[in-house]
């Protein structure tokens, strides 16, 4: 790692999700030197965990493939995975950044041949699948993981599995003595794109996520529908692995709620429309999707998508914030209790599976931020003079859908370029 070259004309991008990748690539394709840090072993972030995008229902991996190819072909861009920012000091045009790099235990030699994965035995909850499935202690994060290199779970270091893995590798790519590293770099501008995380569903007590097997979150539902996911793309419910054909989506699960997230997470309505579409796609007439909502926020031309889904005969919309979910002990079905407020109709509806349209909160909370920037009450970074040359991109700046996150990331790339160009100008 010592060979990381950076100057105060370098742009640092923190976070390798769709926003970070975009900001980094757009800047690099303008000829700028860029360093991209990613906490996990591979790029892609949240979108790589999505099956499809609304409203086109196209596949995030399609765009990821293009971005991966852009990265492979760009010499201005340096990627450091498994790394996090430890500290930031300095001012616009001249920041010193400490970067903590966790050991991957696998070197560039790795050809992703997969032999190590075959021999290790210990399995772990697959966080890429939100714990819905298992993965080996030596693994490739996902089929499109870039860099296409395996990683060892720290938990197997020092166990037989580790040595088995090393013996299995014909390319001497496994280095069990790899240590955590700290590297210092100087950069001119920083683009912060650490994205979002799903709100902790356990906190929404009334919906019983912690008590009822068949209550899951929208991000988990995406994994269920993905052919690369734990069920190979089948909608199988957790309690008994049965096909879930009658699915309920509960909107504002954590959002628009002063007890949880006071902001509207913007994407959840469309996510649920998309999910209703999955159900319809998989089961046709046999499927039934019910969306419990307060307001359907499908703005601008995304409203087309809302109207299309509305026309599906097996999708129902109920204007109601569900009051509580209880489990039918006989069959494990969640039963939703509440009131349809359009004309006051009380309901107790039983479904096979409940999907909580879970809210979006910034991954890096204000109090854990490595340097002093302006946050709003919702915890997003707000553009402000006082932030110097630290620019938020994507969901670090607001609850955004992918299209807007990319728009915003492209904009932040220019803001960063302005800074380093001025540095270049002043240094002649």
């Amino acid at each position: 790692m010592s060979d990381v070259i950076a100057t105060n004309q370098t742009i640092l991008v923190v976070g390798g999700g769709i926003s970070g990748m975009t900001a980094a690539l757009e800047a690099a394709e303008c000829g700028k030197q860029v360093i991209l840090l990613e906490k996990s072993p591979a790029l892609g972030g949240r979108v790589s965990q999505l099956y499809r995008y609304f409203p086109k229902l196209c596949h995030p991996t399609c765009g990821l493939e293009i971005n991966n190819r852009r990265i492979k072909g760009n010499k201005n861009l340096r990627i450091i995975t498994m790394s996090e920012v430890a500290s930031i000091s300095g001012d616009a045009g001249n920041y010193s950044v400490k970067v903590k790099v966790s050991p991957r235990y696998i070197t560039e030699n790795c050809t992703a041949c997969g032999e190590c994965g075959k021999v290790v035995e210990t399995e772990f909850d697959d966080d890429f699948n939100y714990g819905l499935g298992k993965r080996k202690g030596a693994y490739l994060q996902h089929a499109m993981a870039y860099p296409q290199r395996y990683v060892l779970d720290p938990a197997i270091i020092g166990t037989d599995d580790a040595s088995k893995a090393r013996e299995a590798c014909k390319y001497d790519a496994i280095d069990l003595d790899m240590q955590e590293e700290e590297i210092d770099i100087t950069v001119g501008a920083i683009i912060w794109a650490t994205g979002w995380q799903p709100y902790d569903a356990n906190k929404i007590q009334a919906y019983g996520y912690d008590r009822i097997d068949n209550v899951i979150t929208s991000v988990e539902f995406e994994r269920l529908c993905d052919p690369h996911g734990p069920t190979g793309g089948k909608i199988l419910r957790p309690s008994d692995g049965a096909e879930a054909k009658n699915v309920a989506m509960i909107q504002c699960a954590g959002s628009r709620d002063i007890n949880h997230l006071k902001h509207c997470s913007r994407i959840c309505c469309m996510a649920s429309l998309k999910h209703a579409n999955y159900v319809n796609e998989k089961y046709g007439e046999e499927g039934q999707a019910t969306i419990y909502y307060i307001d359907i926020r499908a703005i601008d031309r995304i409203d087309d998508f809302y109207r299309k889904v509305k026309e599906l005969p097996n999708v129902t919309f109920t204007k109601s914030k569900v009051a509580s979910v209880v489990e039918n002990k006989e069959n494990g079905n969640p039963v939703l209790h509440g009131v349809d407020t359009e004309g006051y109709h009380r309901y107790a509806n039983e479904h096979d599976l409940v999907v909580l349209a879970i809210g979006m909160e910034p991954s890096v909370p204000a109090d854990a931020f490595p340097v002093d920037v302006k946050f709003n009450e919702e915890g997003f970074i707000e553009a402000d003079e006082s932030n110097g040359a630290i620019f938020a991109a994507g969901c670090s700046s607001d609850a955004l859908d992918v299209n807007r996150a990319v728009q915003n990331a492209t904009a932040s790339a220019l803001r960063a370029i302005q800074v380093v160009n001025n540095v270049a100008g002043s240094e002649g």
């Binding site: 007590q205 008590r211 509580s324 209880v326």
Partner: protein, 299 residues
Amino acid sequence: MAKKEYSFYPGCSSQKAASASNYQTSVNSMCDVLDVQLNEIPDWNCCAASIGYAGGGELPRLAMSARNMALSEQAHPDQDIVATCAACWLATKETQERLHNDGGLMEETNKALAEGGLTVKADQNIRHMVEVLIEDFGYDALGKHVTRPLEGIKIAGYVGCQTNRPFGIDGESFENPKYLDKLVETLGADPVNNYDRKVSCCGGALAFSEPEKSQALIKDIIEAAYDGGADMIVTPCPVCQLNVEAYQGQINKKYNTKFDIPVVYYSTLMSVAYGKSYKESGLDGQMIKAKQLDAIAKK
């Protein structure tokens, strides 16, 4: 451990020969073991409970609780106020909150109190006895005093409403508080896990004015306890205790059920486990006898 002292607000139902007098008995025994001294607020008055609203307006009701706080501040200035009744605790705590949050109210209330020669600051902690047990002692400490573990008894922890919402016990959730279950375990008995009526409403005061509707709720509460295999129900609230215990006969008539499940206070369980006698534990106050407890208590 040194003696702990609190400014005690017993509430109407815990008075001699009142509906929760047995609660008071067991609380006294429990405190005796835990070396807790409850200093009764001199000349305390009724909190007006929630149901007081129809007669009393906002300010008169606040004044009732404010008077209690004022008296406590005079008599035991540096002690926390502790209540054993959910309604008393809630009404007092709510009053405190309102007085501090709504600018005008503090002044108006004091104007009213002045007529009785009192003033209130409303800055003492207002706590439920359960909070005292969990926060000032903790389960381990409470467990240490157990001399007669309540082995083999399955108990449904019925938390009810007002001990739970809107304030509740720190660190517990509104929908699934676990402290009664933990307490039951601490005393050597088995809790009913996922007792899904543990926070549903018994009708409260409306058990009097809307008996049918309330008894329908009570029926579900008892049924769920039986479904969970419970031998008895434990609760921290006098209203819950009375409603769930006293109406079983009427419910049996109406729904031809055969309910006969004892409903006891946590303090009764503790007193028994702590080696107190049948009487000291308030078991004589059970309209539906808690036979398993009686057996242990009479050992």
